[in-house]
Symmetry: C2
């Protein structure tokens, strides 16, 4: 298995690029509050984010080293990262849960000017709104504004080490998908298949199975976000499993469709078309193309070019999050660059309000794209019923 | 296994209590944006929240039915809940990701006055900060303010059906903990034990293992939030596993300590004291007592009454979240009521900067408290090395 963590140079590089971007945007610092952003800049990796009780802050100044302003319970783990300056308070504090300590730190480290927080699409601020209002007042004369998309832009381009981690996650899922025949057969409930597929992912090396969606039916499934039902699989069903498992904090995100016995002709045809669309997206994926170009390359195969996006998109970025910038939709003109990791996720309607969705993961390289997930053949995989 | 979901009457009751609280606080509606709050009021349950791309909104008016304002990808699943009014947009929309639709809905449904959002401790707003600013402008003349803790107060008191779900999760974890001897022995790495313990939880009926922490060493562990290391277990180690698994959207959250072979005398004594402290907390847990009372009841056993809270607390609420209000700390004067589900989580220092932590889950009843997790005996459980 690939090694854990990153060398210090990786974090120094991330910080340097953040600081160059701050200089361009006229910002004197960045403040991050969520697991993905904190992990990206510090290497602080814990499942403890599952507890919403405590806020966590990392301040990145325009010059100099990052400062972690965190609950005391995190001090031991943060001290194992490359972050040297760690300030803590006894959290939860019902009267002042880190706000004064953070404001004092901002004033001391930044002095004056403005710091940015990620405030655009796909972001949120992981602290109470009332405390954010207090913070804005307490930080004066330092102002708080948006980060002009700096953090999103940095995280969108993966280093080689990041790509390796995503590829490792993809390989784990690939081995689990190869074993679906062990757990899915006629009479098994979807709930049982979900449970046992997670076990396969763990057995094959996942740290955690953060996301699992799926569906099953003779002509596909009505949506791709419902929890598993207790309906038993039937001969002729098309079963889909879509997993976002993590390894060392990085996700894969792709799915596989299976036929339980002989597939419906419509399902077989739909699957072939989805693989064709995926290849079309892959062929279009190279530096200089846009996210919209990939959408259109796949949409042309799927619909002849109707460009409908009622229920979503035909792919997206991934990395520390299951889904990241950009979106493969007509409106997203993000220009692809080497190091961007994307999903290609075409969907196609079948009948009775059902659909099939296929998904692969790729990385943009200097010369085009490279598959990170093990590419499927056009014929849907048939499992013994 | 217990059945899935809740009867419609449960959601009607939750809404009615929310509306009574809005009337008391002078609010004309509530707006919720996070998985726990949306699930609480609607029953909308999906792992899709793992994707941060799209915002989701549910508006609860002072009178009348809830209105879901959500991405189109969620329409099929939301239509299976008790929510009748569902408005959707094609998300992600890079120019207007639900803001106009939500603002128009607020103006139409609420008309004038103020709506509240959860804004206090342990909350966050799950939408981009820049969009929230746009929303506040676009909602006029309806104002947006804090919810005066209404949602927290409602969710803190569990219905019988909610307690049953938590108890089911506790029982699943209990069966997995009984089997730790199958996976933990000298030479196994903590990473392997973490992976296989998640598999045991799934095999015993967990929907997902959202949280797993732990540690191991001859005198305990230095913190309780680090990811698993590749260090092999050694004879004499004290191994701790702390899991927050979910079943139908509700968590358990408790841990178990094990000795790999003969335990250190200090570990044995510490474990006995932790069980004594847990019983002391349990005895104090009854309607009318405060969260602080439970802290002091345990702290008296642990330290003689030093009341230090450097690294945390001695327990907390749980339910749809791994951790919920209140906190068992000296400052939390929350008065206990029947239906509150709590963890009792005493910790004790051993040596070399290490500690032991024990945790159980209880529910407050009319007459005192009831264990939801299977209570441990004072002697630490010894596994064959």
């Amino acid at each position: 298995m690939a090694e854990r963590g990153f060398p210090k140079a990786e974090f120094e590089s991330r910080l340097a690029r953040a600081q160059a971007a701050m200089a361009r945007e006229g910002l004197d610092g960045l403040l991050v509050t969520t697991h993905p952003d904190v992990y990206y800049f510090t290497g602080f990796l814990t499942g403890f984010w599952e507890s919403p009780t405590r806020p966590w802050f990392v301040l990145l100044p325009l010059a100099g080293a990052p400062v972690a302003v965190i609950p005391g319970i995190g001090a031991v783990l943060m001290a194992k990262t490359w972050v040297a300056e760690i300030r803590t308070w006894a959290s939860p504090d019902l009267f002042d849960d880190g706000v004064s300590l953070l404001a004092d730190t901002v004033k001391e480290v930044i002095g004056s000017g403005r710091i940015g927080i990620p405030d655009g699409h796909e972001t949120h601020l992981r602290m109470p709104v009332a405390d954010f209002e207090r913070l804005k007042t307490a930080c004066a004369p330092v102002g708080i504004t948006g980060d002009a998309g700096i953090v999103r832009a940095l995280r969108m381009i993966k280093s080689e080490a990041e790509v390796t981690k995503i590829e490792t996650a993809c390989a784990i899922a690939g081995r689990a998908f190869e074993r679906v025949g062990e757990i899915a057969r006629t009479g098994e409930t979807l709930a049982s298949v979900f449970r046992r597929f997670q076990m396969l992912c763990l057995e094959e090396g996942a740290d955690q199975v953060r996301y699992l969606a799926g569906g099953a039916g003779p002509s596909g499934y009505a949506d791709v976000i419902s929890p598993a039902s207790d309906t038993p699989l039937q001969e002729g069903d098309c079963l889909m499993l879509d997993t976002g498992l993590t390894r060392d904090g990085y996700f894969c995100d792709y799915d596989r469709n299976f036929a339980i016995g002989k597939p419906d002709a419509l399902v077989r045809t739909a699957h072939e078309k989805l693989i064709e669309a995926t290849h079309s997206g892959f062929a279009a994926a190279r530096p200089g193309a846009t996210a919209a170009d990939l959408f259109h390359a796949m949409d042309k195969v799927l619909t002849g070019g109707e460009a409908r996006t009622d229920n979503g998109r035909l792919g997206h970025g991934l990395g520390i999050q299951l889904t990241e910038w950009p979106s493969l939709i007509p409106a997203d003109e993000t220009v692809l660059e080497p190091g961007m990791v994307l999903t290609l996720e075409p969907g196609i309607e079948t009948r009775d309000g059902n659909m099939l969705v296929h998904e692969e993961n790729i990385v943009i390289t200097e010369n085009g794209a490279r598959w990170l997930s093990p590419l499927q053949i056009p014929a849907i995989r048939v499992l013994a019923p």
